[in-house]
Subunit: 304 residues, 2 copies
């Protein structure tokens, strides 16, 4: 924890930017009519993810509770009550220890997670671009001194951002297109139309293009990698069940979700944007751990 | 999760108020020069509390990590970097199952936790009053329809709020003064000067009145109980060590905190205010669980 004066100043500048990012995003979403929900930290059910992440569970009152990996299912249920919701949602993902080298992973991070009842992918892409432009503009206006101290030159990208399909990105850059494409890009770039076998079961399959999902990722330029990830959602019980099976998961584990869907989940779309990664991009930081005062880096222990 | 139309409308009204509370508090604190930190969910060290709360631990990377019960030690370290900080900090406290009857307890809740370098108790009491008045005024201005739908008549209290010492409160209302005094009060009420043996070791002992702490609680009127809790902090390693021992805890468990204090923790003061309890008071809710879409009630399991 001991920091030299110079390290302390650098950290204070980054944290000031982060505070502005949180504030600007909140202000933007409130203006857009979103309701902020308190985050969910423990739940009997959480995002299965596709990659291998160790389970983080606690026991309480005779039940098992996952630490939240994302608020996906809670968001889907929440838009049945409020039309547009968001949450600054702390996520725990116990990633492989060697992921500390990627510069992009923390095992505790905060995701600005939002969802819109009856939203379409295109509306959410539009919202995501405007959110990003708003936040960058606000930080440039209010944190000039901090960005200068960090040696960061930042420009606000022009909308709309270019869009690639997953197949195009893969053709040009291979399966690990994320970093290669992000390195080449001079502006944020959308990737859309993921194939059904590379994404989680809750991303909605296009009824007119079987096997293709109505989802999207946004990549930062300059090699900073993924900015946000989202899409339209499966909300009909029989479709959710089919997709759970397709992902090789056990529908019995998702009984609660299926029973919610049987009661009636509304159609919705949404995305999640990692706050520390956004701050990393804005500040030009080598490692996302710098966006935290008490970073949780995969494979590392912490003093406090 | 199934809600009738009427329940859904009631829930939407409460969540709208909650969103306004979060937004107003944040706006107020930004204006006061505070930096918002992302919350800490997992940590090798957390608030010991004084009452019996089950431990919630996970294992990762060969270490044990507590789910955060409060950000107290992280706040003390953080003001070494930024002068004034706050966080909407989700806390997990696995309370006894019968606490579900109190109407005031959730085992997952969010605390607006803040700290000020070189702050005094009196400054923090002033800040707490202004924060509460600001939030209540904002909600009254922006959520008139929601409060009416909830049948809640709310007035903004006049400052300064009355202050009792712990001994006065105890003399008049007994050891369980909290609810009795809160029921009788028509305005929020401060309790100050807790004796050393009823509070956690991090509340600072008054150098001029041994055995008396420079701390405070705020109680809501109308029987809603505790609003916030805080105080000046012990920051010198030898005093922290003595207080840890006085509380019957093992200093070896707090090596990290003691080593931070040896490097130099700044003097500070702060408080934490429970967001759901604030919303309960503002909306006049029988149980704090109503302030959550997915409440975690002691002793109860959840579907999602």
């Amino acid at each position: 924890m001991f920091l030299s004066d110079r390290e302390r100043e650098r950290k204070a500048a980054i944290l000031k930017v982060e505070s502005e990012v949180i504030g600007a995003a909140r202000e933007f979403l409130r203006e857009e009519g979103f309701v902020e929900l308190l985050p969910v930290i423990v739940a009997p059910l959480t995002d299965p993810l596709r990659h291998n992440t160790d389970r983080a569970l606690i026991e309480a009152y005779g039940g098992h509770w996952h630490l939240t990996r994302s608020m996906i299912f809670h968001k889907q249920a929440a838009v049945g009550v409020c039309e547009k919701i968001f949450s600054f949602s702390p996520n725990i993902r116990v990633e492989p220890p060697d992921w500390k080298e990627t510069g992009r992973h923390l095992w505790e991070f905060v995701q600005l997670d939002l969802e819109v009842r009856n939203g379409s992918r295109e509306e959410l892409m539009d919202l995501g671009e405007r959110l990003l432009v708003y936040v960058l503009s606000r930080v440039l206006a209010t944190c000039r001194a901090e960005l200068e101290a960090l040696g960061r030159e930042l420009t606000v990208p022009t909308r709309p951002f270019p869009t690639f399909t997953y197949r195009e990105a893969q053709r040009r850059f291979g399966d690990d297109y994320e970093i290669a494409l992000s390195r080449e890009a001079r502006t944020p770039v959308w990737i859309v139309d993921f194939p059904i076998d590379v994404r989680e079961f809750y991303d909605r399959e296009d009824p007119e293009r079987p096997g293709i999902l109505l989802d999207m990722d946004l990549l930062y330029p300059e090699g900073y990698g993924e900015a946000l990830s989202g899409g339209e959602r499966e909300y009909l019980p029989e479709r959710i069940r089919r997709r759970i099976e397709l992902q090789g998961l056990d529908p019995a584990q998702y009984r609660a979700l299926l029973s919610l869907a049987e009661e009636g989940l509304p159609p919705s779309a949404g995305f999640g944007i990692g706050v520390e990664r956004l701050v990393r991009y804005i500040c030009g930081l080598p490692h996302v751990a710098e966006a935290r005062l008490f970073p949780r880096v995969p494979g590392e222990l912490s003093l406090i």
